[in-house]
Amino acid sequence: MDEMEDNTTVLSTLRSFNKFLSQPFDGTPPSANTSNTSGASLQMQFQQRFLLEDQAAQIRSKSHLIQVEREKIQMDLSHKRARIELEKEASANAMNYEREADKNQELLTRIKVLEEKEAESQSKLQEQSEMNKSYKKTIESQSKKLLEREDKLSEANEAISVLKGKVSELQLKIMNLEMQLKTQDTEKQELNEQLEIQRKKLQDGSQTAQVLQELQALNADYELKLKTLEQKLSTQEQDATIVKNMKSDLEKLPKIERELQQLREENSFLREMRENNALLKEEVESLRRASERYDRMKEELVTLELDKEKILKKLKCWENLEQTTGLSIKTPDDLSRQILAIQQREIKLKEENLSVINSARMLESARQNLQSELLKTQNNHLEEKKKREQHDALVRRLQKRVLLLSKERDGMRAILDSYDSELTPSEHTPQLSRRLREAEENLQRVHTHNAEMEVQLSQALEETGLQKQRAELLTAELSLLKSQMGTTEQSTSITSEAVNSMRLKIEELEAERGRLEEENKILEMRLERLSLQGSYDPSKVKVIHFSMNPASRAQQQRKEEVQNLQEECNKLRELVRILEGGTPVPDKLEAAGSIQTPIQEVTELKKQVESAELKNQRLREVFQTKIHEFRTVCYMLTGYRIDITTENQYRLTSMYAEHKDDNLLFKSTSPSGVKLQLLETSFSRTLKDFIDLHLHHQNSIPAFLSAVTLDLFSRQTFT
């Protein structure tokens, strides 16, 4: 409404301005003439003009301002739309981004799977390539065969061309035969004609009918013969063609034979192939057996390894034993050295043993000698003893005899005395003297004998003394020997003990040696195994490699990759954290990724959306106030309040309605609201006349409405 007013003012000012402009043309000549009289009025006019101009300028600026405001509103609206669109786009972008991330993950998993597949396929490819090689070989052989077959085919083609030529020849022959047949047909026709002539002649020569009849019969026979001949001819022709075919077949035969030969060769070749195949099968079987043997070997290897482990354990035990025993055996060389030392010691001990045995034997032989000597001396001793006993007996006998003799002498003396006393006279002196002499002689003899005996006794006594001495000596010797024997026995026992101990030691050493040899073997095996595994003597050998080898390079690359990825991951984590926090992204992380810009955009767009919403609210408020104003004005001007109850239905309530519920319902049938229909209400039922008149008859809703208002107004004023 203000605009309208403004416009009208502009128009009015324009008009006044135009007037003002037109005035000087009218007013200048009188003003020029009467400048003094009309000075005040001129001044007034000027002031008015100035005022008017000021007003005009103000109005213009106002209008301009309003236009600018409109433009601004339009701009804002467009801006809003743009922002909303941008927001949508941003959300769509975010969605897309999420989808892309999901896809990326999926693709990563797929890549992994594909990598695995690739590895598998590579192995397969290798196998396939090997297969391919074999196939290629077979293909080559096949191509060779194919070439051979192609050669054969060309030969066959040549044969076919030759056969075609023959066929054409045969066709020509057939043509000739046909020609001959035609000529024969013509001949036959001629003969028929002749026959007819002859028949005519026969008819003519009825006179010679009988002859002719005979002739006719003959003729018929001839005809028959002719027919048979013709048949024969045709059969002959057929035969000829058959013969020709046979000939061509016969011509083909050598070729067929050649082919047969080729086929036979092929057959033989194939048989050879089959034989080869069988050989190969045998080979395959042998290889299978070998593989089985190999498997068995593997099993054995496993068992051997188990054994080896056991042995290793034993070795460890042995090593521990070594440590406990205090022998410093660490290498097989040491062991062998020790073994050598032990063997040397053994040899020395053996030598000692032998010398000891020899000494023992010597001692034994000496002992035996001594024993024999002892026996001899004992025998001697016994003999001596016997002798001494004999001597003792002799001495006793002699002493007894001496006693007897002395008693005899005493007796003899007594007898003599008695004789002396009795026979003092020398009656018997000669006899007596003889007897005395004899007695004295006897006595002297006895004395001598006695003396001899005494000498003998003394001798015997001396001898016994000697013997005793000897016996004593011998006993002393014997005791000495006995003592010696004891010592020798002791020594022999000692030596035997030593020998036994030595033997035991030797046995132990032998056992040890065996063990050490086994260990040596085991250690050698271990050494070999270790050398197989690649161990080395660090005192003699060193291991070097090129510093930029592929493995280290690959490792380095991997490390770098991992580092990069970790950095990226950290950055992204930081970003995610920030985004989750909702705080603006710091400058540090601006370079983190391309996601940065959309995030900024999103925040900006959010801000824009907020401002747009604010504006929208304000606009709504403004619109509401305006609408309210418009409705009240409509109500005031038309006298009807129009409400929209449902879609396309409008309720009109008159200002002068008697009841609040008195209203009219209109429904728009077309979307643009061009056609309106009155719906029946309780109020409309009371207005039948108006409806008939204005709606049915005049077909004018405004007229109807105004009639209703007038009616209601008149009722109110009337009451």
Binding site: S129, L532, Q533, G534, I544, H545, N549
Partner: protein, 203 residues
């Protein structure tokens, strides 16, 4: 006569040449057979009467050439005991396979004046069988499931000097390994025993 001698005899230099060449092709074969490098980076080459595969990767070629050249020098000086191809997993640095070539040098041969009589044909035959066996080992070696890289270790005398860009290393054993001894070949001056140790598969 001289030509005959050079044809039939083997000198120290010639032996070093033969052995280092064998290593070049042998290592290439191992790398191809074990799939350390992709198969498409290999090209076919005729050698020892076999069709062998040789890498075309420029970095790898450069590395192998430098190592083999250095090895030849050491072989000539009889200073090398072993050459080992170690295959490690890139993921966890675990050693999975170890191809060991023990080299026995006849140290009595000091210069090229001594000529041993062995036909190159026979040596080639021996080398061929070794390489065939390397190819055949693929049938029983466990599949390398992870991405792998390889390294070449050379066992030399303790007193020999380490050249530039080379460094000392550990022996890099395969833990819990199984060993298989392969064939050998000899030039009468150098004898090369080959074997492979690989990680036992836990059943």
């Amino acid at each position: 006569m001289a030509a005959q001698v050079t044809k039939e005899g083997i000198t120290l230099k010639g032996s070093a040449e033969i052995v280092s060449e064998f290593f070049y092709f042998g290592i290439n074969s191992i790398l191809y057979q074990r799939g350390i490098y992709p198969a498409e980076t290999f090209t076919r080459a005729q050698k020892y009467g076999l069709t062998l595969l040789v890498s075309t990767d420029p970095d790898l070629k450069n590395y192998l050439n430098t190592v083999v050249e250095q090895l030849k020098d050491w072989l000539y000086k009889c200073q090398v005991q072993k050459l080992v191809v170690v295959i490690t997993s890139i993921d966890n640095n675990e050693i999975l396979e170890r191809w060991q070539f023990d080299i026995e040098c006849d140290k009595s041969v000091k210069d090229d004046s001594i000529v041993r009589e062995k036909s190159p044909k026979v040596i080639q035959e021996e080398i061929r069988s070794v390489i065939r066996q390397i190819t055949a080992t693929v049938t029983f070696l466990p599949l390398l499931e992870t991405a792998c890289a390889f390294d070449l270790l050379i066992y030399t005398d303790k007193d020999s000097e380490v050249p530039e860009k080379w460094e000392e290393s550990g022996p890099q054993f395969v833990s819990n390994s199984e060993e298989v001894r392969l064939r050998f070949f000899t030039t009468t001056i150098h004898k090369v025993n080959s074997m492979v140790a690989y990680k036992k598969i836990d059943c």
